[in-house]
Amino acid sequence: MTSALMFFYCLYQALMIYLAISAARSTQDAGHYINGNRDMPAWAFMFAGAGIMAGSVGIYDSMTMFARFGLQYNHVMVSILCAGFIAVLMMKRLWLAARIMSARTLGDILAVYYGSLTIRLLSLVVLLFFVFPLSAITLAKLGAVFSVMTDGMFSQQVVVWSVAFFLFLAIAIGGWRGGIMIAASNALMMLLLLLLVSGVSYLSFDGYGNLKQMFDTSDSIRSLTGVSIDTLPGVVQFTRGIGKSLVMDGVWTSLAVASFGLALIGIVAQPGFCYLAINQRNLRGFAFQQVWLTGGVTIACLLILLPIVSGGMMSANLIASGQLTDLGMFMALAEKFLRFDAMVAAAFVLLVLISLQLVVMFSVLSGANIFVDEIIQRYVLPDLTERGRRLGARVTLAVVLFLVALWANIGPEYAYVLNSVTFSLSAQFVPAIIGLCWIPWIARPGVLAGLVLGIIMVIFTEPLGIILFEQMFIDLPWGRWPWTIHSAGWGLFFNVLTCLIISGFRHRDSDHENRHRLHDVFRSEYPADAGGRRVVTAIWSLTFIWMFFAIGPGAVIGNDFFVYPIFTGERSLIDIPSIWAWQMLGWLIGVLLLWWVAYGAKTAVGDIRQIHKLTFDNTFDGSGNPMQNQDAPSWIVRFLNRFVARK
């Protein structure tokens, strides 16, 4: 397989470099380098967006998690629709807000709208989590997989540095335009490879047959691994959390699934993904990407096809009494493919490599470019020319990739601890973004207090906060994900509550006119017309009912619903576990609802002919001292003055 894998991988990298060169040659203008001159084609967003979603959920991680937890983890795939709903609600208005306010990034939009430098800095902190720990882990995994699959011909270190160099080459040549086109190309390739691998698995070595056999004997599996593979282990388990008390039958209760869905919102609410949307030429492709490519194709692949492929991992893990590592399970499945055909085995490994590479590339590319926009040009070198920005972006990219590769080589275990909060932290921006897009009375004090509280809750329900606190002070009474509720759920619960309560009291503060000006423009010139109040009520009622039954507490009904239907009292003869059928049904209904919200209520579509520009009083740009016209905390002012004073 080594030669086939090497051949395919190198050929693929060469084609990506070619794509980057062709993108660079078509636009000689330096302005295109950083953000494609906000003129990116719809197809790039459509495919890249869906690919980033699939890559961030993780092909490799999803397979190994499925092998350990079976269909209870598979339920997480339905909850990706939560991210779809949030994307549908926010992307169009973020795109509009960026143009109305002449803002460049998510942090920029939120900072100008709420008049808060802290929000800008917090968005940069979240961005750092995507750029460093997430990328370092992903690159380390890529190195490990490639090294093992080439029988150690290349060590993990060599692979990590080589891939980092290739990524630098491709992005430094192609810039944002080339990078996103490569991401789109990778996404298409991932889809086709997954179809091939799952097709071969189904047809040729009976991957589904193996899986079905395991479902039929799930009691013996439970006795081996302690996990119920074909049912959700209840609505909630009132345990102290992972690491502090035992969770019966597996951790993926329906509340764990729903709260993990909230964490997945962090993928679309991350500054990089918003940057991708903001830099689109127009709104074409937004709804299609969110509804059909992410909600439809991506979830279908992860929900239906991936289990068929992962069945081989699960059986290998069972043979080893649940003792295999992630890499061990992956190797076992790759060997199964290898026994069938070397080219298919290479395709299987390539699928995983491309999905990992896509995440690294997008994270470092968006991180480096946003860093140039938000830090270098805003605070360090405000007079930077277009050519200077391009150079700055390339230098930043080189530094970022160097640090990521270094981290991937010398200490990925620290990255695992830090990365545990990445998506959850990003999801904490949802109240702020929803306020900007839809709810004018959500005010700065509420958003800031909610964000801070949400971030604290996230950190202290994940290993990052727990380990740090316990190392420095005393043992905490709870562990990771207490009550089997994901950290994003804990964070967002307190975040939203605080935000609403404080905004309720403070929404008439001096900055409320600014906020209302933007919403007035939204309402008068770019309205979302669902067809009346009753329709809106119907949409949201149905959406919440769907959430309750598909990913919320009602999902446990699906454990037996199709096997022992309540209206017959006898066992039905469907050929798949009841919960899997429930998941597919929930997914199909969810996509229909998503379609209704995106197209029917016009939240993600529209024909924008003219942009109504607004100037905000509390903008940090312009001639005034950026430190004087907002009430930033003094420590931030002192910290930034160190940079500003230097120019």
């Binding site: 062709s22 078509s26 636009t27 190309s185 086709l192 097709g199 298919v344």
Partner: protein
């Protein structure tokens, strides 16, 4: 037929390239499986992917308001001719196919040809589709009117000769 800027041309090229990298490479793997495992399902899936790539290409052309570029047409015909040649040579030198696989390969090649002809007829009409390959007519036209056929030959868009 729209006039495209460099950037639009590159965007279309990027999309076409991305589509064909995926479709063609997976189709090659499927053909390899079909032949090595002697399984007609894989072979037909390979042809299916080629046709899917072709249809995706047509959709992109429709969205971009263009036809097939000359280079794309030449490359496509070259690969198709190579496929036919390889199949014929393999039959001549005595490579043994199962009857299902032989039927799949031969009918797949015919299906691709039919699809191309169908596309040309629906896009250009029967007469113009024939004129695309009517070299004798272009010789005659060159004698009668020195520039007409040369202009046709150098067109950068096969589908635009309506």
């Amino acid at each position: 037929m729209q006039t495209m800027t460099d950037q639009e041309r590159q965007e279309r090229h990027g999309l076409i390239l991305s589509l064909w990298i995926g479709f063609a490479s997976i189709a090659v793997i499927l053909f390899h499986l079909g032949l090595s495992k002697d399984n007609w399902i894989f072979s037909s899936a390979g042809f299916g992917l080629f046709l899917a790539g072709f249809i995706a290409h047509i959709i992109v052309n429709a969205v971009a308001g263009t036809g097939f570029q000359t280079r794309e047409a030449i490359l496509g015909l070259f690969v198709f001719a190579l496929g036919i040649l390889a199949f014929l040579i393999s039959v001549v030198i005595g490579v043994e196919y199962s009857s299902e696989n032989f039927l799949t390969l031969s009918s797949g090649l015919v299906l691709i040809l039919v699809t191309i002809i169908f596309y040309m007829i629906t896009r250009n009409g029967l007469r113009d589709a024939f004129d695309q390959f009517n070299i004798i007519k272009s010789f005659n036209a060159t004698k009668a009117d020195g520039s007409a056929s040369i202009k046709d030959d150098k067109s950068n868009d096969i589908g635009s000769q309506e």
